[in-house]
Symmetry: C2
């Protein structure tokens, strides 16, 4: 007990996602997850606060990557350009583990409370992108408009990617969706 387990976090995460899909989130216990992963409850709690944390712990590094990409975008890049770089940074992290992401989305889609939490997370991310744009000198009103629009495009791109069995590159779908929106406004 307490010894180092190779990739314990990843194994616990995958075991949890599989069980949430098979039995439902509410019907799964931390003991079930540890057992499925061949680990102990104690090891689980070294990696996650609770069973919900398995689904949302990824939000923090994702947010940091997005905000960093927006802040560090080349000087002189437009606000839309900087936001697109930020969203591509998020997409890059997400597409690294497509199967986990697909399972996670199945769990969330089946559970209203988890959907609510996910929506709050996305709204928070939009607020942080807006702050990063203000840091680049854009005024607050414009920053918010572009950040919220960017998040709308991202949500749509993500849904398209998931609907296509999370195949191909999400970064590409994000770029295409942003270009499609630009074309829609150009035609309008």
């Amino acid at each position: 007990m307490g010894r180092w387990e190779p990739n314990a976090r990843g194994r616990l995460g995958r075991a949890a996602l599989e069980l949430y899909v098979e039995r439902g989130f509410d019907q799964t216990t931390v003991a079930d997850i540890a057992e499925r992963a061949g680990l102990t409850k104690r090891t689980f709690f070294r990696h996650y606060v609770d069973k919900r944390d398995v689904l949302f712990a990824g939000a923090v590094p994702l947010r940091e990557a997005v905000v960093r990409a927006v802040a560090e975008a080349p000087a002189g890049l437009s606000a839309v350009g900087a936001v697109t770089l930020g969203l591509e940074a998020a997409a890059e992290m997400i597409q690294e583990r497509p199967e986990d992401v697909r399972l996670r989305q199945t769990v969330i889609d089946a559970h209203l409370e988890l959907q609510e939490r996910e929506l709050v997370k996305l709204a928070t991310l939009a607020g942080e992108i807006a702050a990063a744009l203000r840091g680049r000198g854009f005024d607050a009103c414009r920053a918010r408009l572009i950040a919220e629009t960017g998040m709308a495009v991202f949500r749509v791109a993500f849904a398209r990617w998931i609907a296509n069995s999370a195949q191909g590159l999400l970064t590409q779908v994000v770029k295409e969706s942003m270009a499609e929106l630009a074309a829609i406004f150009a035609e309008d």
Copy 2:
């Protein structure tokens, strides 16, 4: 008891909003609301399911107005044009009672669970706008992209209007915000 009370629904709604702001949503009871409005609890329950319903009952007619405006937009109008008409229909309803709307937003901003519910409501509305666009013959992918973008613009416009003490016409702020986003993409 049971007799007809002039504008009971409006009086109860306003009393509830005032109390939610003064005491907090959780600290307010239906009895408090009825007392403040000079009505009975029984009258309250003839108009609202519970104290949360005071905040969210408006969503149904709003949604109906938006969907109807999108569906009945002039034939040949672009998807962005149809969505803009839908959002203007929502704005028209909202700007009729600016003080209630401002109080309501103060209550929601102070309460995480109410924010979650509000985000779900807005996400549902985006889905219904997308469905209305599909009904106009737009493909599902494009419909969702434009509906989500429209909702992003609407949220930003609403926040701007509220930040400006809910003065002026929200319909105008919606139109301007949509035009601003189009201009941003045109410059990009």
